[in-house]
Amino acid sequence: MAKRVMIADDSEFMRNLLREILEDDFEIVGEAENGVEAVDLYEEEEPDIAMMDIVMPIRDGIEATNEITNNYDDAKVIMCTSVGQEEKMKQAIKAGASGYITKPFQKPNVLNEINDVIPA
């Protein structure tokens, strides 16, 4: 059975790109455009993995990740972001992120990161 993945990114272009990369190997359970929607979608679907942008309106990805990982012990969140700052990476890890991919990415990078976080 395919693993279930949700995508949270405020960019429609990037959500489409991630969907195209993942849809052959994973079930995409839904998409969110901001941190609030991301938390709601996670609670609704409890996916195996959440792909989470950092810079999003209303509520950013680090805050959303923090809430998700506080409420779900086994939650797996991969930050998928244009921000490659060391301090931001530390904040993401502190919030409970399991992985971190810097945009722009190629399909193999994304699949490798997911496999590292939830081995098939």
Binding site: V83, E87, T102, K103
Partner: protein
């Protein structure tokens, strides 16, 4: 408040590295090879912003910065290039027929990724986090492509403007990445230490104003000697890596004169005309109109003479305000590609410094029919010393 020239150089270097990362991101995402032409920083006024951006229509992506570095960043494309980029990006996602909204989203996300790459090095250097606001797609004419806060700051006390020009290697896809850090915080970051080579920040504005007046004098002198209408199109005081200056002048053929300056500050001043502009001017300077269609002895003599007079007009104002004496050498006539003319100048100055304040002024002659570019490259340390010695005005 003082700025340390070494710190300014360090931040210019960070911006340059950031622009390289931004170019790599674009190459990966859109499949086009990009290079960074040059990164410079200048303290600009509202007038300079207007001159720099005027008469151009832009598509931009704006990202605000908060935390360790506050300010604004803007990726600005001239409209037709943005459309071309959208086409490239939509090809990547196989959504060639997607609606305009998705096309805008693609450019916005590209801006987000490029600005993220640009900022990372700054955050790591400052050992802090820089928060980015979500990217905003904008369309505007002229300086309105920049955030309102930056324009307001430029009105009040000037704003530091970092500009990285990115160029498509095999496609016509040139555009610029601008960063405008919040003035007061950035000046604090630039303060360095007492042992550094420091200039009171307001003296940079003074010098920029001097450069503008010098360009105005030079334009008037061309007008007086030729009877042609002249106008200073743009004049900016930029802080640039010396190595990038020849590339910035480019590979077009120029006719002009190079002067070595001695005194405080020493340095070089280069006056360049396009070939056609040079013959137009030379002919206009001759009684009866002259008749030389190519660059010959008459043009050489005329350009040397005009260069002499323009240079005096340009530097006299510096000497008067800095209360120093500046002399210039006899004119060295040059007729070559811009890059070849500037390389030896930069080579000589580069023995003492890696970065330079370059005054870059463009004078329009007879409407759009001719153009004159003036590049002044003073010795950085001597300029800092002379500016620091000015009576305090803060």
């Amino acid at each position: 408040m003082k700025v340390d020239i070494r710190e300014l150089g360090q931040f210019n270097h960070l911006a340059s590295q950031g622009a390289e990362r931004a170019a790599e991101s674009l190459s990966q995402l859109a499949g086009v090879q990009m290079g960074v032409e040059v990164t410079d920083v200048s303290l600009v006024t509202e007038t300079v912003l207007a001159e720099t951006f005027t008469d151009r229509s832009f598509v931009g992506v704006e990202v605000g910065l908060e935390g360790g570095l506050e300010g604004e960043t803007v990726l600005a494309f001239e409209r037709e290039r943005a459309m071309k980029l959208q086409d490239l990006l939509m090809g990547v996602t196989d959504n060639g027929d997607a609606e305009e909204r998705l096309a805008k989203s693609s450019v916005t996300e590209l801006g987000n990724i490029m600005i993220g790459g640009f900022i990372d090095g700054w955050a790591n250097h400052l050992d802090t986090a820089i928060n980015m606001t979500p990217p905003r797609y904008t369309e505007a004419n002229g300086p309105r492509i920049l955030p309102d806060q930056a324009i307001e700051a430029a009105k009040k006390h000037g704003v530091f403007l970092f500009e990285s020009k990115l160029t498509g290697m095999d496609t016509d896809l040139d555009f610029s990445l601008y960063m405008l850090p919040e003035y007061r915080q950035f000046v604090q970051l630039l303060s360095g230490n007492e042992q550094g080579n420091q200039i009171p920040v307001n003296r940079l504005s003074t010098f920029e104003q001097l450069a503008k007046e010098g360009a105005g004098n030079a334009a008037d002198q061309i007008g007086m000697m030729t009877g042609l209408d002249t106008n200073v199109d743009v004049s900016r005081l930029r802080f640039v890596p010396l190595a990038g200056v020849p590339k910035q002048v480019g590979n077009d053929q120029f006719v002009g004169v190079v002067f070595e300056l001695t005194g405080l500050p020493s340095g070089y001043l280069v006056v360049l005309f396009g070939e056609e502009s040079a013959t137009t001017i030379a002919n206009a300077m001759m009684p009866g109109g002259g008749a030389e269609d190519e660059i010959g002895e008459m043009t050489e003599g005329a350009i040397k003479e005009l260069g002499n007079i323009m240079t005096s007009g340009f530097i006299d104002g510096w000497a008067n305000v800095l209360q120093t004496s500046i002399e210039h050498s006899p004119p060295n006539f040059v007729h070559d590609m811009g890059e070849s003319i500037m390389s030896p100048v930069v080579g000589k100055l580069g023995q003492q410094q890696d970065y330079a304040f370059v005054i870059d002024s463009t004078i329009e002659i007879d409407g759009n029919k001719g153009q004159c570019d003036i590049y002044a490259l003073p010795n950085e340390r001597e300029l800092a010393r002379a500016l620091s010695a000015l009576p305090a005005r803060d």
